[in-house]
């Protein structure tokens, strides 16, 4: 029990992290169930198995900080404190959804919580996250911008443009590559010139090479806190590569059959961040009753939010014509 000697995180924060990760897991599972019931249409990209990354940043960030994520962004949105019914309602196309059905699963946005959008075109949001970071620098305020993306993003031009710009302008930003080993359906190593798709590129932009076990919630939290502090202190950007694995396929349409059974089994059974963190809490002598109570509480929250979402009305058709422009409308001629 070496970990016990290094209880730098403390029980309160660990339980906070546990509760958050569990929420992300159970909401994603619920989203999957609702798909099977055909209550959610379109597509969705679940982050099952990757909860420790969004969870750690959710705990480490402050109100006012900005986050940007990809179309695999339900977890990152919830991690900033967005309501479960806001997320599930949006997936279901209901009025209680974060954007009342205007955006859908791939574009979750909750500005009040600092969720500056979920971006569905690979790479774009790295450049946009630089913009909120630039604004913090310009205004001499101390918010930090965090941008989550997948391993596949490291091979698109915007990734490289964004890292270079963040470095030359010393922006208060943290780039977080969630390397789940597959870019959509293809193993990332088959299509990338380097072993570590993000970390091995860091040196090209004079950034530290940071690789972390993205399924070890404590390590993830320490890494997140360090990078966020660095940005907040005006010491510039960081690029973190967090190794992880998605439990499901790329999207709703993908059963993930291209992955070897043994590999999937190993990650599911031995490297599940939720399962392992629960065991770690017990190692730290946290009362199992407290852990179970949190589990019951989150289950209850998810069920209640699901009921609220299902009961919420669908959008009115007139919403089609709203909010193209800041005047609320969509007119393009007089």
């Amino acid at each position: 029990m070496v970990e016990k000697l290094n209880d730098d995180i403390g029980e309160e924060k660990r339980l906070q992290l546990w509760e958050l990760m569990l929420k992300l897991r159970l909401v994603e599972k619920k989203a999957y169930d609702l798909f099977l019931q055909n209550l959610i249409k379109g597509t969705s990209h679940l982050a099952l198995g990757q909860e420790a990354i969004a969870g750690a940043f959710g705990v480490a960030l402050k109100k006012g900080d900005y986050t940007f994520c990809t179309y695999r962004g339900h977890a990152h949105t919830l991690a900033r404190g967005s309501s479960i019914e806001g997320v599930l309602g949006e997936l279901m196309g209901r009025q209680c959804g974060l954007m009342k059905g205007k955006g859908g699963s791939m574009h979750l946005t909750d500005v009040d919580k600092g969720v500056m959008g979920s971006y569905a075109i690979i790479g774009a949001h790295l450049t946009i996250a630089n913009g909120t970071a630039l604004a913090s620098k310009y205004n001499k305020t101390n918010e930090v911008s965090v941008c989550f993306f997948g391993d596949g993003t490291t091979n698109i031009g915007a990734f490289h443009e964004a890292l270079n710009m963040a470095k030359i302008w010393n922006l208060p930003i943290v780039f977080v590559c969630e390397n789940n080993l597959y870019m959509e359906y293809t193993p990332i190593h088959e299509v990338t010139a380097v072993e570590h798709p993000a970390a091995d590129r860091a040196g090209a932009y004079d950034l530290d090479k940071i690789i972390v076990d993205g399924n070890d919630a404590d390590e993830m939290l320490r890494t997140a806190e360090k990078a966020i502090s660095k940005a907040r202190e005006g010491k510039g950007p960081s690029l973190i590569e967090a190794k992880t694995y998605r439990h499901s396929g790329h999207s709703r349409a993908d059963p993930g059959k291209y992955r070897p059974d043994e590999e999937v089994k190993d990650w599911m059974e031995n490297k599940d961040p939720i399962k392992n963190y629960r065991a770690k809490l017990l190692d730290f002598n946290i009362n199992e009753k407290i852990i179970s109570e949190i589990e019951e509480k989150i289950k209850d929250q998810v069920e209640k939010a699901t009921e609220i979402s299902i009961a919420s009305p669908i959008p009115e058709i007139k919403e089609i014509y709203t909010d193209v422009w800041a005047n609320g409308g969509s007119e393009w001629h007089n």
Binding site: A129, A135, S145, G157, M165, I168
Partner: protein, 327 residues
């Protein structure tokens, strides 16, 4: 009263906006120390310093992404894309991100930014540095599209573009940078979405934009002097929002319409204008709405080739005579 070039009016317009509002900053390639490749931003770095006039790397996606992100927080960036042709390398940021984020977020996010860019032909730069691309942005919901034809319009429309709560693409025409105008008052504002009449007339309505509006005006002077034809020349000034009422009013009077576009024919903005006129003013028309465009080809480089590709004053005059006199 001061004589001002279109070029000088760009830097003056930006400076005026930056003096008025600390939230305005300017970002682009070679815009600061170099004063812009067209010298349209000379003096800005000296007046406002590096924090507000930022020289960026050749990274158009990163430039527009940074401008967008900053605008999302309430700042009012002006971003330069050196040649409008380069919009192609950052079109995701323009068409998917800047244009759609307000709508997708159900109005949670405003993006008050200006993308200014050197547009159009006449410089013998060839097919990748000469295009007129207003219609690329016109077809994307969420973008406002402005193209000034004279120094005073640069001043007035830039003021409005910077103040606008929505993203505005501001197409400056390269062949107009040297155009001079006597200007009494430089700190002016012209609402986006109001067309301007460059020449009065009741025989035919000629609709143009940017350089083509200026050429249509020259054509109207010749038509009046030499052919006894009185053409009304409407400079649209912006494609989105579009001043349909001014077009309708004139078409009802003249019954004849010619659009003059610098872009290739297919899906040019004149096609949309023609469609609107046929829907709104069909009974007032005395003949078909016709369009002058470049042929459906990339722009060639050599003098004689480029000059014969872009609609000339002479071509506009001839088209009008053909329409009205059947010659």
């Amino acid at each position: 009263m001061a004589q001002l070039t279109y070029r000088a009016s760009v830097s003056l317009a930006i400076a005026q906006s930056m003096r008025k509002d600390q939230k305005v900053f300017f970002i682009g390639e070679d815009v600061g120390a170099a004063g812009g490749v067209f010298k349209a931003t000379v003096g800005l770095l000296e007046e406002f310093g590096k924090e507000r006039v930022m020289d960026a790397p050749i990274s158009e996606q990163a430039i527009l992404g940074a401008a967008m992100g900053a605008a999302m927080t309430g700042l009012r960036p002006i971003a330069e894309i050196m040649f409008s042709d380069f919009l192609a390398v950052c079109w995701d940021i323009v068409a998917n991100q800047i244009a759609k984020t307000r709508y997708m977020s159900d109005g949670q996010i405003n993006i008050p930014l200006v993308i200014r860019t050197a547009n159009g032909g006449g410089s013998k730069f060839g097919a990748q540095h000469s295009q007129s691309l207003e219609n690329w942005s016109m077809m994307i919901p969420g973008l406002k599209v402005v193209a000034p034809s004279c120094p005073s319009d640069v001043l007035g429309l830039m003021d409005s573009a910077v103040k606008d709560p929505d993203p505005v693409i501001f197409y400056e025409h390269k062949s107009l940078y040297a155009l001079k105008e006597e200007i009494e008052q430089t700190d002016i504002s012209i609402p986006i979405g109001e067309a301007n009449t460059l020449h009065e007339g009741k025989d035919i309505t000629i609709i143009g934009l940017a350089l083509m509006a200026q050429r249509a005006k020259e054509a109207a002077l010749i038509l009046k002097d030499k052919h006894d034809i009185n053409a009304k020349v409407i400079d649209l000034r912006s494609l989105v929002p579009l001043d349909l009422q001014t077009i309708k009013k004139s078409v009802i009077e003249t019954g004849h319409v010619l659009t003059v576009e610098e872009n290739p024919r297919l899906c040019g903005w004149g096609a949309e204008i023609s469609s609107l006129i046929s829907e709104h003013c069909f009974k007032n028309l005395k003949g078909p709405v016709t369009r002058v465009t470049t042929p459906h080809v990339p722009l060639p480089s050599a003098d004689i080739l480029e000059d014969n590709t872009i609609p000339s004053v002479e071509l506009i005059v001839n088209e009008v005579i053909k329409k009205l006199k059947g010659e």
